[in-house]
Amino acid sequence: MRYLLLILMLASPAMAVEPSEMLADPALEARAREISKGLRCVVCQNENIDDSNAGIAADLRVLVRERLTAGDSDEETVQYVVDRYGEYVLLKPTFFGNNLILWLTGPLLLLLGGIGALVFIRGRAKPQPEEALNADEQEKLARLLQD
């Protein structure tokens, strides 16, 4: 089923951003491209609407350009899309709620791992206490020393 979906998607005639969709104002178009790169094509697999060939991605690209032309800021435009399609469209998850765990994984692990590594390295800088020899080994040593 998903395979079929994939074929249908790829079979759609469009090819990512079409010349006809593009805005005449280069500054506005550049903003639209940048925003599009952060929005997910909802029927695709991990593809942003800027790269996607799917019909719905084309609709969203046009929608983004309409909002920008209407004078919305970048944030308002993204919010407009999120309000209609949900957070699913954001390729960069919000820095909020559960997602904090996601965002903080790297920094926290670096901090904890860094402390661990530092403790390990500092521990290594001191001569290690030799393990005391047990009776058996002491006897062996004594014998060796006698020879």
Binding site: E18, Q45, D51, L91, K92, N98, N99, W103, I121, P127
Partner: protein, 659 residues
């Protein structure tokens, strides 16, 4: 007939794997030499049997035997021979057979070339390897049998996904699997070491070549996939942070860390427990990757399988391997103590930092890849984690790594005087920063990415050169003497310089193309001449042609650059069987830039949509990856590490104290 023989061979291999999983490990516990010795022939026969099964399936594909379900579903008699053969692994069942073939190859290699391993270690390693084999052969036979027959064979097959009918993607899976599965060797050695409670320099010397080989394959496999995406998907993207890509990138990061920590175990007899843990984690990433790709949990171009039974099966294998490995680790890691001493500034500390950064980076990729699943599972909400997240959350660790790399690589073992070690590097640092500043001053537009990227890559590459210059006492002794010293440096040192320089090239390529790429999308009329970033383009004509199993729409563009001019031919292909179009971009490749043209559709008002990209230095990404892999190979063929070397030729380590 052959197909049935293949089926029998597979079942026999399964039985041999069961024997190999049980007998040798008991022998090792009890000290029974003849039980341990069973591991060698079973591993070899297992390889022959799976090879036979693989040959049988390949035969079915080559002769287009559509009575085999797999062939009927994935091949077509009109398909070019190359893709009939590569079609064997371009589907779920066949690719799992390839997985098993490679697993058995690694096992048989240890059996055949491992004469100098302590017999107990070899028996345990091969038993663990066979346990993995049992699990995946069972998976193949019971959930993904490639040899199923159809009652009524169709007159022709339904063909292969056109995207997979491409040389780059045809050979991408074998390399990737050689890497993925190669890490099983490190895992088996780690488990065997935990059972024995002993890790020593000899162990590390054994694990390193296998890990290195796996790493080289993985590097090439990932580079091939990335290059394929670049030329095939029609706009020149080379990395998407797609879950499937991440599945191969996580083992790569872990393998990279493992390679480095194994050096510490070998040279300095410390970091043992950590290295064993990394070996377990590395293969766990391979298994997680296999699960993500094979279960269809994440749907993507690569996910051919969407059968939940298969997913559950792999999940069980995953739980047993990772859970079992980590449990064993908790109980036994305490035995792996070491007493060696090193100071805060030393090669050892540098490699600890390397491992810290690579591991955290791998963890970020792991969490980012699994996060949408975790959220959907716990809250039922659907969210996405894509490229913008990874760019932000992953890149800082690579920047830190790049900053620390030349310093860590030049520090001597045990104890370093930072001032003395840094002496050859100050000039390099100044030069790199100067280069970055120059680029910053020259470029128009304020992106800091290119200057920073260039500084880092110059720092890494020149740092590696400076390391070699100081090692050969360049400028202090005669030129001939320096050359002689360079020649005498061991292969692993050459490997190190090459691999690190490769990383520098990749960083350079990525930052240059990201910062300086030009893009032009427009409706182009025939004969209209227009400029993109100094190049002039004219669309001459568009014609219809026929390929072997697809129709072609082929454009011809005249490209002019100053006095030079040449023709380029972007295509669109429409595959007849699947009725599916693909783009074949025309790419003019050079070291300084690629000119990349993709053909779009005819437009309502006449003319064609044409996308043109000028991509500066983009090929450095793949050249860098190849240089990196070549560095790994150079190190692998260092005579001191040659698989059978340690016992046969007691080569004294060359007088090279710094490595």
């Amino acid at each position: 007939m052959f197909v049935e023989l293949g089926q029998y061979a597979l079942i026999l291999a399964f039985i041999f794997a069961i024997v190999q999983a049980i007998i040798p490990i008991i022998g090792a516990q009890k000290g029974w030499a003849n039980w341990m010795a069973i591991a060698v022939p079973t591993a070899q026969i297992q390889l022959l049997l799976i090879l036979g099964a693989f040959a049988a399936l390949t035969y079915a594909f080559v002769v287009s035997d559509f009575s085999v379900q797999l062939v009927a579903n994935n091949s077509h008699s009109d398909k070019p021979m190359l893709y009939k053969v590569t079609g064997v692994w371009a589907n779920h069942e066949g690719s799992m057979l390839l997985w098993n073939l490679i697993l058995a190859t690694f096992g048989a290699a240890v059996a055949t070339f491992g004469n100098n391993l302590p017999p107990e270690l070899r028996a345990r390693v091969l038993s663990v390897q066979a346990m993995i084999g049992v699990a995946f052969l069972a998976f193949l036979i019971f959930t993904s049998n490639p040899f199923l027959r159809l009652d009524v064979p169709p007159t022709n097959g339904s063909g292969l996904n056109p995207l997979l009918q491409d040389p780059g993607l045809a050979f991408h899976p074998p390399f990737l699997y050689l890497g993925y599965v190669g890490l099983s060797m490190a895992f088996s050695f780690a488990i065997a070491a935990l059972i024995e409670g002993k890790v020593d320099a000899a162990w590390a010397r054994w694990v390193r070549p296998w890990t290195l080989a796996a790493w080289v394959f993985l590097t090439i496999g990932i580079a091939l996939g990335s290059w394929w995406a670049y030329y095939e998907l029609g706009w020149g993207g080379y990395w998407f942070w797609d879950p499937v890509e991440n599945s191969s990138f996580m083992p790569w990061l872990a393998a990279t860390a493992l390679l480095h920590s194994a050096i510490v175990v070998e040279k300095r007899d410390t970091l043992k427990a950590w290295t064993v843990l990394l070996a377990i984690i590395g293969f766990s990433f391979s298994l997680i990757g296999t699960f993500l790709v094979r279960s269809g949990v994440l749907t993507s171009v690569h996910a051919f399988a969407t059968d939940p039974a298969r997913g559950a099966f792999v999940l069980v294998i995953l739980a047993i391997a990772i859970g079992g490995g980590l449990t064993l680790y908790t109980f036994r890691a305490g035995l792996l103590k070491s007493h060696s001493v090193f100071s805060t500034f030393s090669r050892e500390s540098g490699l600890v930092l390397n491992n810290l950064l690579l591991s955290v980076a791998a963890a970020v990729v792991l969490v980012g890849t699994l996060w949408p699943l975790v959220i959907e599972f716990t809250t039922g909400e659907k969210i996405s984690v894509g490229a913008p997240f990874f760019d932000m959350a992953f890149t800082p660790f690579m920047v830190l790594l790049a900053m620390a790399l030349p310093i860590g690589a030049i520090l001597p073992w045990k104890r370093a005087k930072l001032g003395k070690s840094m002496r050859p590097l100050w000039g390099v640092m100044a030069l790199s920063v100067a280069l970055g500043t120059l680029v910053w001053a020259l470029q128009t537009g304020g992106r800091m990415l290119a200057p920073i990227g260039l500084t880092l890559s110059a720092w890494i590459i020149l740092g590696a050169v400076a390391d070699f210059a100081s090692r050969s006492r360049f400028g202090k002794v005669s030129f001939g003497e320096s050359l002689r010293r360079l020649r005498n440096l061991p292969g692993s040192d050459w490997g190190k310089v090459l691999a690190h320089s490769g990383l520098g090239m990749i960083i350079f390529g990525i930052s240059a193309v990201t910062a300086w790429e030009t893009e032009d999308i427009r409706t182009t009329q025939f004969g209209e001449r227009y400029e993109v970033s100094g190049y002039y383009f004219t669309l001459n004509k568009v014609e219809n042609l026929e390929g072997p199993n697809y129709d072609i729409v082929r454009a011809e563009l005249l490209v002019e650059d100053g006095g030079k001019s040449w023709l380029m031919h972007p295509e669109k292909r429409n595959f007849r069987v699947q009725r599916m179009p693909t783009t074949e971009a025309a790419i003019d490749i050079s070291l300084t830039r690629d000119v990349y043209i993709a053909l779009g559709d005819p437009q309502a008002g006449g003319g064609y949509a044409v996308r043109i990209y000028i991509k500066p230095f983009v090929d450095w990404i793949w050249i860098g990856a190849l240089v990196m892999a070549f560095g790994g190979l150079t190190s692998l063929f260092d005579r001191r590490y040659r698989v059978a070397a340690p016992s046969r030729k007691r080569t004294k380590p060359l007088a090279a104290p710094a490595e």
